[in-house]
């Protein structure tokens, strides 16, 4: 099971965390990955000064934004889930 975590604290919320989550939820459903990927939120990853929304895949840190979320999922997340 891949643990995909999105920060939804204030700074990441302002950078579009909710839209990133919606994109991930849509792609998990359309790719039938509900049993392979556990999408969860966290209120702070301690990287508020980052430029984009903070994300982790199995505790490894990344960042993305609403415009790049689909590409991020199709590369980084799916590669990990294979």
């Amino acid at each position: 099971m891949v643990e995909l975590t999105v920060c939804i604290g204030t700074s990441c919320h302002l950078r579009g965390a909710e839209k990133v989550i919606k994109t991930f939820q849509r792609l998990i459903t359309s790719n039938r990955l509900e049993k392979k990927i556990n999408l969860q939120g966290t209120f702070c990853m301690g990287k508020c000064s980052g430029k984009k929304v903070q994300v982790s895949i199995n505790s490894e840190a990344y960042e993305t934004c609403p415009e790049e979320a689909e590409g991020f999922f199709l590369t980084e997340v799916l590669n990990t889930a294979k």
């Binding site: 939804i8 204030t10 919320h13 909710e18 919606k22 939120g41 966290t42 209120f43 301690g46």
Partner: protein
């Protein structure tokens, strides 16, 4: 209510211990604040992702303690404090919880996150003003 991290991290333990020993319903506001609680309580917050929408502010539960994002949620609550609000989100849950209580003790952490550019102090001052105007008795402990 616990709003924001203490300005001095050395006060985290005392502030959290004091808060946890209070009697009554507990609410934590703030993502960083929530992380500090998670560390001290050795517990993880369960965030309600399914109820989040692009326009909605997130919330969750740390054990049975209601947890929300902080300043944006409180700012939005201020905007609707004296009006009807029926959107099923963190603001409505917070509004309903506050409405149930006459005495509200607030542990106010004075640390500021310089990144998000929101005037946390102004939002908090307005919130306390509205509590008093609605007949409640807020007690504030600053850290």
């Amino acid at each position: 209510m616990f709003f924001g991290p203490p300005s001095n991290p050395l006060d985290d333990h005392d502030a959290i211990s004091g808060f946890m020993n209070e009697i009554g319903e507990k609410i934590i506001l703030g993502g960083t604040t929530c992380s500090i609680f998670e560390h001290h309580l050795k517990s993880k917050t369960r965030i309600e992702l399914k109820t989040s929408g692009c326009e909605l502010l997130p919330y969750g539960f740390l054990g049975n303690i209601f947890v929300t994002e902080g300043t944006l949620t409180l700012k939005k609550l201020n905007d609707v404090f004296f009006s009807e609000y029926n959107i099923d989100d963190a603001v409505k849950l917070l509004k309903d919880k506050i409405a149930k209580h006459d005495k509200i003790k607030i542990y106010r952490g004075r640390a500021i996150n310089p990144v998000n550019g929101i005037d946390k102090n102004a939002v908090f001052t307005e919130f306390v003003k509205y509590l008093r105007e609605s007949g409640k008795s807020p007690e504030i402990v600053n850290f």
